[in-house]
Structures are given as structure tokens and as C-alpha cells.
Symmetry: D2
Subunit: 336 residues, 4 copies
């Protein structure tokens, strides 16, 4: 159940609703959007229904929704959201290219990758300091040292930083360095982590779980939103199917379906979807054409030495070709 406050509802009206819900043993999560505030209720729905919330001051309506997500739904928030990351917009009026190394390995490699990204026209830098790896014997990332490298490279290049966080108790640390927090596919059902990134006040890039339905993906976003953070960008990165020719199966329709259900921007990760360098360009074109708000690609100055996912990293010439497509194609499909 959600309480939708009227535009311009006063703070004490909001507080009064929260107090009444908490007084009845429930929890109330306040989400302040651009035009209105929404209060999500958790607890005994039957009790809430008898509490006279709809008659309280500043309340526009009380909605008992059947869709399992509310705050992120287009139905309750018909204007599309633009998320700003260190001043860089991601949303309906632009197309955003995010590039960088899969893993931060060294200052030199990260700076070189960032310079490749910047000179090609990327406006955000991605790079992992904490790497969730299937094998405990694989490179796990540099941790806080990697975060420092990213911050240094940002200072040098001016590119805001997107980086993954894998543990709820690292969220504040990562947020102190990063401009945007990424939730990876393996953590799409790590609800404590979702709540933690929802509370810390930085934009979130939420990858789809590799076996998550679109509905479950939006519910993961709802976990973030429920903690008051609506600066969420969804990212389709391929799902797990029987096909083995590609690392995952890019569910290109999911971009259009998610756009139809949610006001949040939707990006695509063509690198992890296909897992092959030669597929990054065609999948990126498909992503632009289907209406994605941006793409996120792996680049590496020397992919043959990469500690993580070298086979899918772009080299400089690949990235320039891709960047040209990112400039030319979006206007031809009605964007920007």
C-alpha cells in the first residue's frame, strides 16, 4: 500500500502519516520525487486500510496496488526520470556512453582506459574495484585501493565514476569515492544490499539478475526506491538460457517492456551480454534502436593481459567506431 501525497504537501503532513503508520506497528518509507512525495507502507495491510489515512491532511490518495512495485512504476509516476551522475544526465533526452575497464588493475591501466573512453566521447567511467568472481581463485579486485585509483583518474579526466558494490557494509565507503553505485547481476536478489544503496544518497545502476524476470528486476528497483532513492538506472545485461554461443542472451525486448512499465532509464550492457568483442557493436546498435538510454561497455588498453573478461573488452579503434554510432544513430531513432 502506498500513500501518495498531494503536490506541495507540507512536511508535518508527511510526518503525521508516518507517525500514524508506525504507531500501528507498520513501517513507512518516504520517497520524495520531483513533483510529489510517496510513502510506501510495509506491515499489516488490513490494519492500514482502517486507519483513515485517505482523510489525513496533504494526502492525495491511498493506493492498494496489485502490481508488486509502486514507486518505480510508470503508472504512478508518468513522467520519465532523468538520473544525473556527477552532473551527467541519463534519461529520455540524451544517450549516454559509459566505458571503462571491467576491473581496475593499476593506475596506469585505469588511466589509459579512461583516456580512451574520454577521447572517444564517453561521459562516464566504469571500473570495478570489487569483483564478484565465480571462482575464489580468480582476481577479486583491488578493493579500496581500486576506489582510490578511480577517484584519481576522475580528478585527471573529469569523468564521473560508476563502480560496483557487493556488500552492504561497504556501501558508505564506496559511496564516498563513487558517483554512481552499481549492483551486479549476482546481487540482484541481495535485498539487504539493495536497501543499503537505497539509503546512501548516490545514483544506482541496477543490473538485471541473470535469471530475474522483468517483474523481479523492477521489484529489486523497488527495494532501492523504498529507501527514498529514485535515482535508479536499470541495466539489461543478458539472461541465462540454453544458448551457449553467447555468454548470456541479451533480452532486447526487455528494454522496451521496462520502459513501458517504469519511469526509470534503461541501459544495456552489450559486453557482458554477448561476452565477445565482435558482438559489442551490433548489440549496441540494437540497444540504441530499441530505445535504450545508454550503454555500458568494457574497454581495455591491452585486453590480452586483462585480469577479467579480456575477450569482451574493446580496444581503441573498436571504441571509436562504437562512439561514432552512439553519436549518429540515436537521433535517427528519435532520441536527443
Amino acid at each position: 500500500m502506498v500513500v501518495v501525497m498531494a503536490p506541495g504537501a507540507a512536511e508535518d503532513e508527511i510526518s503525521a502519516v508516518v507517525a500514524r503508520v508506525e504507531g500501528a506497528g507498520g513501517q513507512a518509507f518516504v520517497s520524495r520525487g520531483v513533483t510529489r512525495t510517496i510513502i510506501g507502507l510495509v506491515g499489516d495491510v488490513e490494519a492500514f486500510a482502517d486507519m483513515g489515512l485517505a482523510a489525513m491532511g496533504g494526502v492525495h490518495e491511498v493506493v492498494r496496488v496489485s502490481t508488486p512495485y509502486k514507486l518505480v512504476s510508470l503508472e504512478h509516476h508518468p513522467a520519465k526520470t532523468t538520473v544525473y551522475v556527477g552532473g551527467v544526465p541519463i534519461g529520455p533526452d540524451t544517450f549516454t556512453l559509459v566505458a571503462g575497464p571491467c576491473a581496475v588493475e593499476s593506475p596506469e591501466q585505469t588511466l589509459a582506459a579512461a583516456q580512451m573512453a574520454k577521447s572517444a566521447g564517453a561521459t562516464l567511467l566504469r571500473g570495478g574495484a570489487y569483483k564478484p568472481r565465480t571462482s575464489p581463485y580468480a582476481f577479486q579486485g583491488l578493493g579500496e585501493r581500486g576506489l582510490q585509483i578511480l577517484a584519481d583518474v576522475r580528478a585527471e579526466t573529469g569523468l564521473p565514476v560508476v563502480t560496483e558494490v557487493v556488500d552492504a557494509h561497504d556501501v558508505e565507503l564506496v559511496a564516498s569515492y563513487a558517483d554512481m553505485l552499481q549492483i551486479g547481476t549476482r546481487n540482484a536478489g541481495n535485498f539487504g544490499l539493495l536497501q543499503a544503496v537505497g539509503s546512501v544518497g548516490k545514483p544506482v545502476l541496477l543490473k538485471r539478475g541473470m535469471s530475474a524476470t522483468i517483474e523481479e528486476w523492477l521489484m529489486a528497483a523497488e527495494y532501492v526506491a523504498q529507501r527514498g532513492n529514485l535515482d535508479i538506472v536499470l541495466c539489461e545485461r543478458g539472461i541465462r538460457t540454453f544458448e551457449t554461443a553467447t555468454r548470456n542472451t541479451l533480452d532486447i525486448a526487455a528494454v522496451a517492456v521496462a520502459h513501458g512499465l517504469s519511469h526509470l532509464p534503461v541501459m544495456v550492457d552489450p559486453s557482458h551480454s554477448g561476452g565477445r568483442r565482435d558482438l559489442v557493436l551490433p548489440l549496441s546498435r540494437a540497444a540504441i534502436a530499441v530505445g535504450a538510454d545508454g550503454i555500458l561497455v568494457d574497454v581495455h588498453p591491452h585486453p590480452e593481459t586483462a585480469l577479467c573478461d579480456g575477450p569482451q573488452a574493446l580496444v581503441d579503434s573498436d571504441l571509436r567506431a562504437l562512439a561514432a554510432v552512439c553519436r549518429q544513430l540515436p537521433p535517427m531513432v528519435g532520441r536527443g
Copy 2:
């Protein structure tokens, strides 16, 4: 094992190879390409290896390949194929829009749909006279009467006809009416049917099986090719996954992967992939952008009365919008 003849090999040189193979109890399938003839061998590979084929007149090389398909592979046929359907090309230098009703229901409905298709700019008419339906209690198609309607509508509109065949013993009948024979997703493993359409001398539209890997799809094409017919167009139409928001999951990467493995054209069916009218346009844009050689869409003058798959059929205004995209977008991604 395949015997690749030299360009310009004489007919009697080809016959000699065939005779030697058959004399040893094997089967030899001759495939005459634009530049060279390829002979696929079936039978005791070890025996063939000792037969001195490589030394015979006109033989360029004898290849013992590890990929399970040969005739349809790009490796052995590096020039991309253009397939002509009633004179209409499908291939790398054009983009082909095929439109029509899912099922032929009546002369009026078929003609109306064909006129919609033609006036929007489609160059081929699709329509089913034999409908494989999951339920035995659903409309199964008009059979030969439907074929006659398609032929009449072709006479009226000039659009060549693509129609499905579901039984090996109907292949000659359907081929006597149609310009291109479609193999549906449920028959992608019906090898007798594949062989029959390979023998009848009409181009084939081969849909991917809903649980077929890309390799299996190419092997299905090999079944057709092995009977001497290389006029095959592959068609990605979505695979079966856990996601239920769409009817199937369009594997957009499969277009690029198939193009990298095979010389055959690859089309996309955005109607059956998504199963929803609102997804046809975005999925078609994605198909064009990823490099598909054409698309195949359902249209219906009155989708609300359609006997088959009404929810995914385009109406006139949808089709015009789609056709505009099919004209404008391909040149922007380097096609035509």
C-alpha cells in the same frame, strides 16, 4: 566430409566423384553455388578418406570439417548469398519487409491485408494456409483453399507469396502455389520435412526452433542444403526462456552470430518474438540495427476478429510507421 570442386569443374568431373562415392556405398549431395560446386558426402567417412578423391579431376580440395554444417557455412562459401523470391531479393544489399496475415481466413481478409502490406511498401506477402496450433481445438488453417486464396491475391497485387508447409507430403502441393516455403519453429527438427523442402526447388524460410541452439539451426539449414537447395533464409523468431512478459525471448545476438557463421541471409520475426503489437516496432528497429536482412510481420485488417494471434497483428497505421522505419533506418546502419 565435403568435396569442393574447382571453379569451372566440368559436369563429368562432378559425376565421376559422385559415382565413386556411390560405388562405395555412400551418398553424395551436389550443391551448385555461384562460383563453385560442393559435394557433401554421407556414409563411411573412413572409407571415403581412402578413395583418392582429392586426386580426381576438377577437385579443388577434400575437407574433413569439424563444424557439423558445411554447405551453409561462411567458411566454405565466403560470399554472402542473396536469395530471390519471385524476383524479390533477400540479402546483404537490400532490406526486405514481408507482411501479411498470420492465417489466411478468407479471400477478403487476405486481400485487405495484402493491400495494406503493398501500399506500405512490403515486397512479399506472408500468410498461413496450414497452421500448426498447440491445441487441436484451435483453427487449423484452410489448407489448399487457403493456398488458392494466396495465389489469387498474388495475381491481384503482384506480391510473391511466402507460406508455411507442415508435412513432407504437402511440399509439392504447397510449392505449386507458393514462391517461398516456410518451415515453422515446431518443425525445425522435422528432418524429413527439411529434406523434402530441400528437394523441391523453391526458396525456403527456415525459422529457428524455439529451443534450438544457433548451431542446431544451422544444421537444420544443412538438411535443406544437402538436398541441393541453398536458397535458404534463416529467421530468428525468439527462443523459449523463463521470461513470461514476452511470448518468446528475441535472441537479437543470434542474427549477428549467424551472419558470422553462415553465408545465408538472416531475417527476424518481431511479431512472434514479442507476441505483442506494441513491441513490433521497437524490435523491428533493433533487428535492422543489428544487421538483419529483413523482417516478417503479422498484419490484419481487423485484429480483434483474427482467428490466430490477433494480439500481435499490426493495423494499417502501425504498418505505415513500421514501413517508414524500414526505408529510413537500414541506410543509416550501412545497408543498401
Copy 3:
């Protein structure tokens, strides 16, 4: 829509219903069960609803069902069916072991495999004369010569024969040799073939399509049943998933689910599910324990030379161990 006749309805009452339906342009499929006759209607359901069928003589009820299958459903046929194959029962009161070679390769190999099967206690012989193979370059079976070998081996051993048919127009030929017709996983959506085996008067072993839901599997059975043949045995053989450690994923729950929805017997094929010899015994034990009515296993006197699926074929000692389990375990789970 189905017309359920009262127990003891007369033949002319049945004929009258059929005539009225056909007179209105519909089709009526008569299915004569042990206790009652059911008539399945195909055509314009709205018209049937106005035809007064419920008031006709001998009609118990007219059912407009929402489940897409009727004749095979437990709801309309509450007694479990026992199917007899050459006198051998498959059903709730017994447990049936079917064994034999994946492919008939020669008289010697087939006889040796059949003798292995018989001496271990199998009561039916399986073996393929028509082999649907993913590759056109793989052994495709001996065809009618294979059928003759099976018939000869039946004469020698007394074991009734189960063999696959892959083309509608071979059905009569195969039925003239075989005691039970098998529909393979690739043909589970080949509806013309399903109808053909439904018309020929021999019991049918219907494998589940590798990407068929349980509901679609029962609808495939309905295609057979609708032609008047209720002697159908369902066979779970694994579905296609992302897991690659096994050839397919045996959906063991499907046995219990199908038993809850249908009156037909349900068998399991542990050989094709796992694709590995070492899994046949544990999967067979699981099949018995979950309530399967029998199992179908590959055996071969010399698996290392098998032309088809050698890695999953049992040798003599394996088969004896398995047969012992098939005798001992079913009574312990309340069967026979």
C-alpha cells in the same frame, strides 16, 4: 467443447450428435472409453452452443472446458488407464521395463540387445529404425529394413516392439511392423504426425518435447486422442535448460504433475535425460520412487561401437542391476 455421453448411450444416439455437429460445419471426434463415450467438437463453438446438444438423447452433459485438453484429462476420465502393448500392460498396477538399442544397426546387434533385455526381465523391446538426427551427416537409421529386423527379433524373443515414427506417411508402414509407435521429442509439435498415429490403431508412446510445458505435452496427447486413440503413454525425457552437466534436465516432478492432470500412464526415459550411463540407475530409482509407470532404457551389446548415443547405453551388468531395482523398488513405494 466436448459432449459427454451417458454410460450406456446407444450408437444411434452417438451418431445423431455427430451428424448434428457435422451438419453445422463442425468436426466431431468420438472417443470410446471404458465407461463412456466422449465426443470432442472442433469448429465454431458459438454455433455449437446454440444447437441444443445437451437435450439430445444419450447426452450426459455438454462441457465448455477451460483446460485446453479434454480427452486425456483426469477430470473427465477419473479412472487411470492401462495401455496394453502386444498384451503387455503399462499402467497403475504394474511397472514396465522397456529396453533395447537406441538404433537398430544389424540383426546381430538387435538380437543381442533384445536377449540382454529379455533375460534381465524387460517385457518390451525398443529400437529405432528411423532416427531423427541433428546432423544430416549422422546415421539416419535403416528404415524399413530396420523394421523387418525388429519383427524378426520379436519372433525370436517374444518381446513386443516399440519403435519411432518420424513422418506421417510412414505411420501405416511402421504400424504394420510395430506394437507401439513412439513419437520423439523433436516431433512433439508435429501435429500432422500426432493425428496420423492417432488414426492407425496402435498404442502410442509420446515423448515430451524438449521445450514443451506439461500443458503442451498433454495437448500433444490430445491431438492423438482426438483421432479416437486413447492408448497413449506419456514419456518424460528431460527438458532443455541452462545446465550442461547432463544432456537434458530430467523434470522428475512432471511425472507427478502429469499423473495429477491426466489418466494416461507416465513413463521416464533416464537414458536420454541424463545422456550418461552412470546416471541411468539413480535416475531410474528416482523415476520409480516418484511414481512412474515404467522406464525406457538404451542397451547395447557393444556401446563403444554404437552408431547412436553409445555413451548412455547400458551393458549387460548394468542392465541386470537396473532390472533388479525395477523388481524390488516399485512394491516399496506402493505399486503392483
Copy 4:
């Protein structure tokens, strides 16, 4: 790379190996098994190869394995492991029934469920205090209050407690109450959590990720083992497939495959696999028959009021029937 110490290697020999690895910038994880100690190395494998480890005192061998898991593999640990939970064994010589409520809701409900479990013959109590729920609006568990209830019920009934932990930083708290820590399906790729439970000294029940391959599942176990904890029980709980008749698809073959690859015990969760009360008994029988070392089932005194997964919870009579099967069937398949 792993260093396998000889049986009886001294502590200072172990320490010397660790010191040399750490001196070279690597990490060494010591795992003390019943018969020998294994040291897993993480870092620069090439450097380790040149360090002369094989010649050090007490070292049996240095293994550079190609399988991505080592400590949990049967190859390197040929004796099957028995894990003891509060004195209760899980392993090859017994069959363990774990029962309890999906979620701890109240002292009364938990005690009632535990008494049901105990009187039926279950030897371990399961129950969730922290519930990972797809929807943020669903009941999330009682947290530490739930742990206290479980401890109180253990005191009353004597049943050791298995409960889930969902956040790395709760591991010590949960371990202070519980006898065994459960990792749920959504956290099978939460590597920080896996490492944390590997460090805390309590046995671990590791559910398979819903889209994890068997290899990935064993690698998740390797994460736990690498921190020195080999008291791991694997639990198959169904994978995500296209089939919707069941909540998940129980991969019954995975039990046998995992037993062939790992020395760890393997249990089955028939409640979450099927998601339906009527499937718990047949799936449990299948689990026993395939060779599982135990099962884990949901019970509830009043399923109709359950806050979580009521449709799959067993009531008292169901549980008694199941428990009888758990006593009678295992000996018939050669267990205990």
C-alpha cells in the same frame, strides 16, 4: 593451486608453507580435514610454481588443478564427508529429515511446528528469521527476535537449529544462535557472504542458485571451504526453467552428479522445488531414491495463515506420512 600436506604434517610445517606464500604476496587458506590439511593458494600462480613448495617439509604434493574447485572435490578428498550439526550427522550412513516453518512468525507457531517435526522424527529444526523476499512489501522476518525464538524452541525440544543468514555482517550474530547457517538460493553468488560463513566455524547448508550450474554451485562451496570450513552440505532446491507448473524445476540428476564430483553431502528441498504441498511426498521419495543424504521441508501448524509460502507447507498428517517414507525407503536403496 593447492598444497596437500601429508597426513600427520606438523603445525610448524603448515605455518612455513603459509609464510612462504604470504611472503610472495599471495594468500594461503588452510583447511584441516579429518585425515589431512589442504592449503589453497590465491594470487600469482606462476610465482608459486617457482617457490619450491613441493620440497618443503610435510608437503605431500602441490596440485595445479584444472577443475575450478579443489577443496570440495571428490578427486582430492575421496572419502565422503559427514557433517555434524549439533551432534546430528548428515552424510552417507544416515538419512536426515529437517523440518520446520519457512518463517519464524511467533513463539507459539514455531514451537508447534517444531513439535510436529520432532514427533514425526525430524532431527533438525529449520526456520527463517531473516527472509529474503522478492517484494519489499512482503514479510521480511523477525530478525534477532526470530533467532531468540528458535533458540528457545531448541531448548524446549532439543532440536538443533538451521537458519538462513542473508548479510555478511549478521553472520556472527546468527552463528551465536544457530547450529547451522543456511545460504539461500538468491545469495549463492554473494561471495562475501560465502566467505563470511566460511570463517565463523558453524556448518553451512548451501542451497544451489536458481540459475547456477552444478559447477558454479560447487565453486560457491569452494568459497566457503577456502576459508577453512569443510562442514558444508549442498542442497538442491530446483532451478529456473520455462516450465511454470512447478515453482522451480527440481534437477534430481544434480544430486547424483554432485555426489560424483564432491565429497560433500547433498540434500534436497522438495518444498521450494515444487512449491506445492501435493508434490512434497513424491519429490521426497525421488530424492531418497536418487541418493540424497536428507531432505528439508516446510511445515506449519496452520498453513492457511502462514506469512510465507503457505501453499507448500505440510500439515501434521502430511509430515507423518513423509517421515514414515524417510524411515522405510532409504534402507531399500542401500542407505543406512
